[in-house]
């Protein structure tokens, strides 16, 4: 029987197998940030265990950082201490850190791929569930808890049972205005938020083959929202072209040698998956969520369903919405374009296309938060900054920002926010905040109109 992409990468990293138990899996790259690493460093120190492979770890500050005045000392004392501790821990252990203000600083899942740290066939972990993003390169990448961060520090390995395999195929061509974000929101709305639990997912089919690396990252990013530990897309010429020439990508002969290996990674034609879903691209429309989990999504022109279920009722109550109603024309005061789902240059280019020459609606506060310093620089270099600022959008400095509202970027109680992030949980963007997930295209149009808008008029 043939092997899947996942099998090939996994099997190449198994150090040992415990009889009737988990396997010892080798980790190539370990990404860390300020929030989930301090307790792991403490743990090691208490036990007197050194960090085994500091050169395979890369650190960034992203979750808790301000998005204004990054050159000034951080006002929030606890955040400041967390960042200081990260710096000290990295220094003590010889770990590369792209701290606040560094030209390579950014959201961990944006900066690592753009620096060429993420490469096909690797195993990558990070104490963050959206590590699945890196799967876009044909990488086994997944989020881990802090105890596991400590395990990787100590041994560069993890004890894991091999997950089952799932394949989601989307065939055909996407309609105009349907973005990768819509594709993944559609998939999750169809199969539910725990359909992937216990599985590692491969995305296959024409839609993903034709997608840019940025788009593939958006899709893989949200694998965790259907419960899957991670998602992967087979590496192809698009992948190789993206990786080549990046700061930490292999060069010359080494690149050629790796390339030859990467080309062997796609799933064999006779590989069998434990579970399969197949969708048609032509069924997918621009999407929007109405509830408090990412599976509660509908096409933007659709109506909220009517369900007789406690969780559903509770969720609509929180959102201040009614079963059966349409989301169109709902007034919106906050728009957030950012997060590791949609804060890459492509996302801002798309938003700029809509915004160009227009003004945001008077009622809207629109935050644009680039995923990294490099994206920020690109926004400026390509003249997008001028477009956004002329339209009244606020371009802020890189970080996780209102995606999880750990810093000051919070959506006020009761307000709706159309957000390009990945989670619409209760209070995710601030206590009592109501999050509506959408693509950067829908978010930009919402900011211009001041209400949720059918994209049709923007697409011509």
């Amino acid at each position: 029987m043939g092997k899947t992409l996942f099998d090939k990468v996994w099997d190449a990293h198994v150090v040992d197998t415990i009889e009737n138990g988990p396997q010892v899996l080798y980790i190539d790259k370990h990404l860390i940030h300020e929030v989930t690493s301090p307790q792991a460093f403490n743990e090691l120190e208490e036990r007197g265990i050194p960090v085994l492979r500091p050169k395979q770890i890369v650190a960034t500050a992203d979750h808790n950082t301000p998005t204004l005045d990054q050159h000034l000392p951080i006002k929030d004392e606890l955040s400041r201490i967390q960042l200081q501790q990260l710096s000290e821990n990295c220094k003590k252990n010889g770990i590369t850190l792209y701290e606040l203000g560094h030209q390579y600083n950014g959201i961990v899942h944006v900066m690592a791929p753009e620096l060429g740290i993420t490469q096909p066939g690797m195993t990558i972990v990070c104490g963050d569930s959206h590590t699945s993003t890196h799967g876009a390169f044909g990488t086994i990448a997944f989020g881990i808890g802090t105890s596991q961060v400590a395990q990787v520090f100590a041994s560069q390995c993890l004890l894991l049972s091999k997950p089952k395999s799932l394949r989601v195929s989307v065939n055909g061509k996407l309609k105009n205005g349907v973005l990768p974000k819509d594709v993944i929101l559609y998939i999750i709305a169809q199969i539910g938020t725990n359909a992937g639990t216990g599985y590692f997912c491969e995305y296959a089919g024409e839609v993903f083959e034709n997608m840019s690396m940025e788009g593939r990252m958006t899709v893989c990013n949200m694998s965790i929202e259907m419960g899957a530990r991670g998602g992967m897309i087979a590496p192809d010429q698009t992948t190789f072209d993206y990786v080549k020439g990046r700061k930490f990508a292999p060069e010359g002969e080494e690149f050629e040698r790796k390339l030859a290996y990467w080309r062997t990674l796609p799933s064999d034609p006779d590989a069998v998956f434990d579970k399969e879903y197949v969708f048609k691209a032509s069924d997918i429309e621009p999407m929007i969520t109405y509830g408090t989990n990412p599976g509660m999504g509908i096409k933007i022109s659709g109506n909220i369903p009517t369900l007789d279920d406690n969780s559903f009722v509770k969720s609509l109550e929180y959102m201040g919405l009614k079963a059966g109603e349409s989301m169109l024309n709902k007034p919106i005061n906050y728009v957030f374009i950012g997060s590791c789902t949609n804060s890459r240059i492509e996302d801002f280019r798309i938003a700029a296309q809509i915004v160009k020459g227009k003004q945001k609606a008077g009622n809207v506060t629109a935050w644009l938060v680039p995923g990294s310093k490099q994206v920020e620089a690109q926004i400026e270099a390509e003249g997008l900054k001028d477009i956004f600022e002329a339209a009244g959008f606020q371009l802020r400095q890189p970080g996780c920002s209102a995606c999880l509202a750990m810093n000051d970027d919070k959506i006020p109680q009761g307000e709706y926010c159309v957000s390009t992030s990945n989670r619409n949980f209760e209070g995710r963007q601030g206590q009592g905040a109501r999050t509506i997930l959408a693509s950067p295209l829908v978010a930009a149009a919402t900011a211009i109109e001041g209400k949720i808008t059918d994209l049709a008029q923007y697409l011509n």
């Binding site: 415990i18 989020g143 808890g145 993890l158 209760e426």
Partner: protein, 196 residues
Amino acid sequence: MEKFVKLTSTGIPLEIENVDTDQIIPARFLKATDKQGFGDNVFRDWRYHKEGVLNEQFVLNDPTYQGSILVAGTNFGCGSSREHAAWALTGYGFKVIVSSFFADIFKGNSLNNGLLPVQVTDTFLAKLFQELKNNPRTEITVDLEKQIISIEGNALSASFEIDPYKKTCMLNGYDDIDYLVSKKDKIEAFEALKRN
């Protein structure tokens, strides 16, 4: 890690599905650099109204229900990888979570912190909620060695699954770090092979 062998306690019913880690411990409380104190903020936004006023409707604030076993709706612990969720639950005093489904990362994090996730069927869960409703003093016993969860008088009893390796760890209070560090030779041999 603390050992877990067997526990008998009353339970707290949290009849909500898809409880995500942002509810278990909201992000604004993740700024600490140690593992202490998270218990005070477990389910913070459900336990308190915005003004810091206790929400008396919420089950954790209902004196009728007490104990170190949390019985929760399906798909418990979905969302982020924050281990702070497990620290918040153990910090509050929970030792067992019963649900009909657990999110992957949360399950792993719990097991790494001596918090036992007991997965039961939807039917069992519904019956258990009913029992707790009928009699909040119902005692629940979780026996890890036998992998059995039951209530007083055995009116309700079921076996549950756990990875045999994880079971050994929980029973003895071992964790994965000790094991992995003991494999250093194999890890180095693997690295050498990979370089060639």
